[in-house]
């Protein structure tokens, strides 16, 4: 054993430079590969941000012509783009609120109660998530076409967005509810709280992080939705539909600036959520440990 240990360093020292490089590469091959994969994921985002500072000669923003801040200075100067953004926000807000309420109630029922029809309900929740968006969009359009009402527009978009958000809210809220400590509710009831008081004072604050996570996901899904919206919008234009419509005649640089703003805003919200969670974890870690833990 000792002889081998002593021999090893001389062996390494005698290795030629290409061999050492090869050994170094082999050891880090996976990390290098992962680095390339991450570059593949991030490069398009960098391109979007970089081209928001481009000064294209024609309508098309495909070649780098020179740096300018002018599209940032008047980022909200295109009325069509602005109204599309407002429409997207309006639909996303309504869809998020309705889908979060409906989805949270469903999650509560599925986690808390044993009842006839559970499996069917679970299936009903999973199946929209496993259906291609185009089939959802097409079937909903068929439905509205045959009924002839409501007219395609904001209402049909809200109906559609609520529909595809519900399942995701259920899944997120349910995962938070599964680890829920029921003894806290029992304690509240033992101390004379009514079921309604128990819900608002104990249950709701405890499931709130899950509900917020579900709502954020619903909002993200709604504001980003293109396919289902494309089928059910009529003449109404949301942000993704605006981009689709502008694609043929050249997407204005302002769209890149708006995308950069949205990207940064999402990153900040994510960061704040993480910081908030860390703080909550630290707070609960500082609390005196209960007996038996």
């Amino acid at each position: 054993m000792e002889a081998r240990a002593a021999a090893a360093p001389t062996y390494v020292r005698r290795e030629s430079a290409p061999r050492r490089a090869w050994a170094w590469l082999k050891k880090r091959a996976l990390n290098i590969y992962a680095g390339f994969a991450i570059a593949y994921l991030l490069i398009p985002i960098a391109v979007i941000i970089a081209f928001s500072f481009n000064n294209p000669a024609g309508k098309y923003n495909f070649t780098w012509e020179g740096f300018t801040l002018k599209h940032w200075a008047d980022v909200f100067s295109l009325p069509d783009l602005n109204s599309a953004l407002v429409k997207s926000l309006e639909i996303a807000l309504v869809a998020t609120i309705v889908a979060t309420i409906i989805g949270t109630l469903m999650a509560l029922a599925l986690v808390r109660y044993q009842f006839f029809g559970r499996r069917t309900t679970n299936f009903l929740i999973v199946i929209p998530m496993a259906t291609p968006e185009i089939v959802m969009g097409a079937s909903l359009l068929s439905f509205f076409l045959i009924l002839g009402t409501p007219a395609l527009g904001t209402t049909t978009l809200m109906i559609a967005h609520i529909m595809f958000c519900i399942s995701f809210v259920v899944v997120v809220v349910r995962s938070r509810l599964i680890g829920f400590d029921r003894s806290l509710e029992e304690a509240a009831q033992d101390l004379g709280a009514s079921p309604i008081q128990t819900f608002w004072r104990v249950t709701f604050p405890l499931i709130l992080p899950g509900v917020i996570a579900g709502a954020l996901l619903a909002f993200a899904l709604s504001i980003d939705d293109f396919v289902v919206s494309n089928f059910n919008s009529g003449t109404t234009v949301t942000f993704p539909l605006y981009i689709f419509g502008a694609a043929q005649r050249g997407i204005p640089v302002e769209v890149n600036a708006v995308a950069t703003i949205l990207f940064s805003a999402t990153l900040i919200v994510m960061g704040l959520t993480v910081i908030q969670q860390r703080r909550a974890e630290r707070m609960s870690a500082m609390r005196p440990q209960q007996e038996g833990e």
Binding site: L30, N31, Y33, A34, A37, I38, Y40, L41, L42, I43, P44, I45, I48, F62, T63, I102, L105, M106, A109, L110, V111, R112, Y113, F115, T121, N122, L124, I125, V126, A130, T131, P132, I134, V135, A138, L140, L141, S142, F143, I146, I162, M163, I166, S167, V170, I178, F180, A220, D224, F226, V227, F231, P240, I243, F244, A247, I251, F263, L267, M270
Partner: protein, 288 residues
């Protein structure tokens, strides 16, 4: 009284959601089925007449985009797996202090709009772009064009759905007990044998979920073919969208949508039979 109300509570909680999903998801499927059997034109109006030939006619006429949809989606799923599995593995086992940053990088594309991400690829693969010139130099872009080729569409689809591949695989790798791998090595398994016999089977549910989450949306996609493809790269999604929104040949469009869903369901069913079902449905909630 109290027990009666308790028995009703779950149904009351479920009612709004079940109502919404039945009225705006299940019932529309029925209407689409009905529409696919209509005859007539948009000018003369449509009439329900059990027109089964719609299916045959639509599939004959749109055979090419139909086949392309599954070819492109299949190719993109395989490439996403080849990129995504090693990436997920690196994040789970070699990430170290970079782990969270790597996970943020994986979900970062979701922070921008889907259409803008695809539009970015249009910029990256445009004829004048350095990427196209580099690909041309190594002979991968014949004629100096990448846009309007199958490769561009597949690259776009792979990119857009890669996070759906990485996240489930990462989640299943993250749950692998490192002691099992140590045990395999203690029993004289080589690194490779430990990976093949322990890590890979334990991550199979993630692979199943990831491939389905990539393949299902990819096969119905038309955004990538719209931005990155040419007239010879249209997918079934482009056909359905065009028939519904431009040509207004609703029966043919509905028939094609139905066939798309049926084919996906058959593929999913066979795949799950083959790979095990627990992966797709996830953990069933157990009542507390």
């Amino acid at each position: 009284m109290a027990t009666g109300r308790r028995r009703l509570t779950p149904y009351l909680l479920l009612f709004p959601g079940v109502f919404w999903l039945v009225v705006f998801f299940v019932v529309p499927m029925y209407y689409m089925a009905r529409l696919s059997l209509d005859s007539g034109t948009i000018e003369k109006g449509f009439e329900f007449s059990w027109q089964w030939s719609n299916y045959h006619d639509a599939l004959t006429l749109y055979k090419d985009p139909f086949i392309r949809a599954f070819e492109y989606a299949g190719a993109a799923t395989i490439i996403a797996l080849l990129i995504g599995y090693p990436l997920a593995y690196a994040i789970a086992f070699k990430g170290g202090r970079w782990k969270n940053a790597m996970l943020v990088a994986v979900v970062a594309p979701f922070f921008t709009t889907y259409l803008i991400r695809t539009y970015a690829w249009q910029t990256i693969l445009a004829d004048q772009s350095p990427v196209t010139k580099a690909l041309n130099a190594i002979g991968l872009a014949p004629g100096g064009h990448v846009l309007a080729t199958a490769g561009a569409v597949i690259a776009g689809i792979t990119y857009n759905f890669l996070p759906f591949m990485v996240l489930p695989i990462y989640a299943s790798l993250e749950r692998v007990d490192p002691r099992l791998i140590e045990a395999a090595k203690d029993l004289y398994a080589s690194s490779r044998a430990a990976f093949v016999k322990v890590t890979l089977p334990l991550s199979a549910p993630g692979v199943v979920a990831g491939t389905l989450l990539t393949f299902i949306p990819a096969s119905g996609d038309y955004v990538n073919a719209f931005f990155l493809g040419g007239p010879n790269n249209t997918m079934l999604g482009n056909t359905i969208q065009g028939l519904y929104l431009n040509t207004r040949d609703y029966p043919a469009a509905a028939a094609l949508s139905f066939v798309l869903m049926a084919v996906i369901m058959v593929i999913v069913f066979v795949y799950i039979r083959f790979a095990g079902s627990e992966a797709l449905m996830g953990e069933e909630a157990t009542p507390v």
